[in-house]
């Protein structure tokens, strides 16, 4: 593996990490503030991808697709919150897991019904097509760099929102002690709805961005969901900073693992078994990392709640 290839993989890893962060941010806030496990967060990412693809095709422009998909994703989040999720806040985690599992089944099948089972292709917008030379002789797609930049900008905005505004203060306080916040006279129900819809929009945004890179297909949210959970558990539930660092970590581990593991295995094994064990180990690496981190820090790297 050359240094150039490594650089490309690192960039790919960071970019996966950024997408994971956009999904995980909403998940960790919803989780931290409302103590609510939302397995359906992954299908909201998928929904964003579909809406983006569909609207882009209809409007003939990726940008219109993006612009329209965001409010649509927000609206979908609101509808789900009102119809299903708000009735689950007071229930135990198990009930939440199951009900949101039901939402996954419904939406995965729903997009199949509406858009068919085969993957949709989303063309890269002409403005961001092509590559640029990041090192002598090394081209990297502009679109991927744009995703990276957009993700980092969003992360920055999110940090500002959560750390520097009144709404953000309430959200942080809610993550630490929800009872106290409602004792302060804040309408917890509205705060929840807002956080929820906002999280859904972020996931949808990630989905739209992912459209031109990955294929848009039913079930695409499931793997992202599981990885996002790994992210928030590693980062410490409720912690945006933890989610950010953990997302980059998971993105890098996953991407680098997949490209390096087979080579590492070559040191011990023949070509064919090396490829297989390498691939298997690579798929497992993030879970191994999570298990290892939880074994030593059961509440994750940046625990929000004391005790």
């Amino acid at each position: 593996m050359t240094a150039q290839l490594l650089l490309v993989q690192v960039l790919n890893g960071l970019q996966l990490g950024i997408l994971l962060f956009l999904v995980a941010a909403g998940l960790t806030l919803v989780f931290g503030v409302m103590d609510f496990i939302n397995l359906a967060h992954g299908v909201q990412y998928m929904l964003g991808a579909y809406l983006g693809a569909w609207l882009a095709a209809a409007a003939g422009s990726f940008w219109w697709g993006l612009l329209l998909a965001l409010p649509a994703a927000l609206a979908a989040g609101l509808v789900l919150e009102v119809l299903v999720f708000r009735h689950l806040y007071a229930r135990d985690h198990l009930s939440q897991v199951l009900a949101t599992f039901g939402v996954i089944l419904f939406l995965n099948e729903g997009v199949k019904l509406l858009w068919g089972a085969s993957p949709l292709q989303v063309p890269i917008p002409p403005l961001l097509a092509g590559g640029i030379e990041i090192m002598p002789g090394l081209q990297y797609p502009i679109y991927r760099i744009a995703v990276l930049a957009a993700g980092i900008a969003t992360a920055g905005g999110l940090w500002f929102l959560v750390d520097r505004t009144r709404a953000g203060m309430l959200v942080r306080a809610g993550a630490t002690n929800a009872a106290m916040v409602s004792a302060l006279g804040v309408d917890i129900g509205r705060l929840f709805t807002m956080v929820f819809a906002f999280g859904a929009m972020l996931a949808g945004f990630a989905g739209v961005l992912a459209g031109p890179i990955f294929s848009v297909e039913p079930g695409m949210g499931d793997n992202v969901l599981i990885l996002a959970f790994v992210v928030i558990v590693i980062g410490g539930i409720g912690s945006i900073r933890g989610a950010f660092l953990a997302a980059l970590l998971v993105g890098l581990i996953d991407t680098l693992g997949k490209s390096l593991m087979p080579d590492v295995m070559r040191l011990f094994l023949d070509a064919s078994p090396a490829r297989q064990t390498g691939a298997a180990l690579a798929s497992m690496l993030v879970y191994i990392a999570m298990a290892a981190i939880l074994a030593f820090r059961p509440a994750g790297l940046f625990p929000v709640r004391a005790g």
């Binding site: 198990l94 897991v97 959970f229 558990v233 939880l294």
Partner: protein
């Protein structure tokens, strides 16, 4: 009241026992019932964990998968007798539970749910990488496990009663365990771990042993599932399957072992019936799941036998 409730699970088991003699002996009916009983077994062992020990695992299907893969892997190496395959399946599943439980049980609540999910995924990807056994596509079991040199498991009726026996045994064993001193500690720790420590007991080893036992029963279910479907693929240990098992437990009612049997029966019937209606049956099934969680707080078993007080 108490008496009536004790009769209900026996009634369920008896119905399953009579069914093949009462005209439900067609091949697809027998297949359906075998699936019900095997999943019910897995659900009962999960209910033992969730309702008994308070350990809501989202990775229980992995234990099934380990048991099922033990069958096809041993078969590929010419080991086909149940007397050796079954203990191996149980041993492998318990060992998996021991290794993963040792870490998972250190966490609690949501973290426990997530870490069991993560271990399940690890098992899933391991299975998918076993290219000698079909990788992603899975592998066929060309003949069912032998029983002391005979092809007894090939006989549909015999297989039916073996599944029934295994289910009854699982239920009885889990009920016995929960009533024992061991189970008392588990139940107390589920409600109030601090109280258990305050009388001088550490919950951890009890939970770990409980986790391993449930894993072992999951292994038996996996052994039977491999023989019932004569096919094993990574899908058997996907996290969706773990979610379905949890759903059976909740649908039947947490806190009552036999509720899991009821939950599994209803689940399989519903799934089969809806799938006949439309290939997009999940679009109906999903909302049904949501509604049942929202409305059926104590599960189906509490409709049949409401709790007093």
């Amino acid at each position: 009241m108490r008496l009536r409730e004790a009769w209900l699970p026996l009634l369920l088991l008896a119905a399953l026992g009579i069914a093949p003699l009462a005209g439900f002996a067609a091949s697809y009916e027998m297949t359906l019932m075998a699936r019900m009983m095997i999943l019910a077994m897995a659900a009962v062992s999960l209910s033992f964990l969730v309702g008994g020990a308070g350990l809501a695992s989202l990775g229980h299907a992995a234990c099934l998968g380990v048991g099922a893969y033990a069958v096809v892997i041993l078969d590929a190496h010419g080991i086909t007798d149940a007397l050796r395959v079954l203990p191996a399946a149980i041993g492998a599943a318990s060992a998996f539970a021991l290794l993963t439980g040792a870490i998972a049980i250190r966490t609690s609540g949501v973290h426990f749910i997530m870490i069991t999910l993560a271990f399940g995924q690890m098992a899933f990807f391991t299975a998918a990488s076993l290219s000698a056994y079909g990788g992603d596509d899975g592998t066929t079991l060309y003949s069912r496990t032998e029983l002391a040199g005979t092809r007894l498991l090939e006989n549909r009726l015999v297989f039916h009663y073996i599944c029934l026996g295994a289910l009854a045994l699982t239920w009885a064993a889990c009920a016995m365990l929960l009533a024992s001193r061991f189970g008392r500690v588990l139940r107390a720790a589920r409600e109030n771990a601090q109280r258990v420590e305050a009388v001088g007991l550490a919950p951890y080893p009890f939970r770990l042993v409980g986790y391993v036992i449930a894993g072992g029963f999951g292994g038996v279910a996996g052994f039977l599932l491999a023989n019932a479907t004569e096919f094993v693929s990574p899908a058997i240990l996907s996290w969706q399957r773990s979610g379905e098992l949890l759903f059976m437990v909740i649908l039947g009612g947490v806190g009552r072992l036999w509720g899991a049997i009821l939950g599994a029966l209803v689940f399989v019937l519903l799934e089969t019936w809806l799938a006949e209606l439309t290939p997009h049956w999940k679009i109906i099934f999903g909302p049904l799941l949501v509604v049942s969680v929202l409305l059926l707080r104590g599960g189906l078993s509490s409709l049949v036998a409401p709790r007093h007080g």
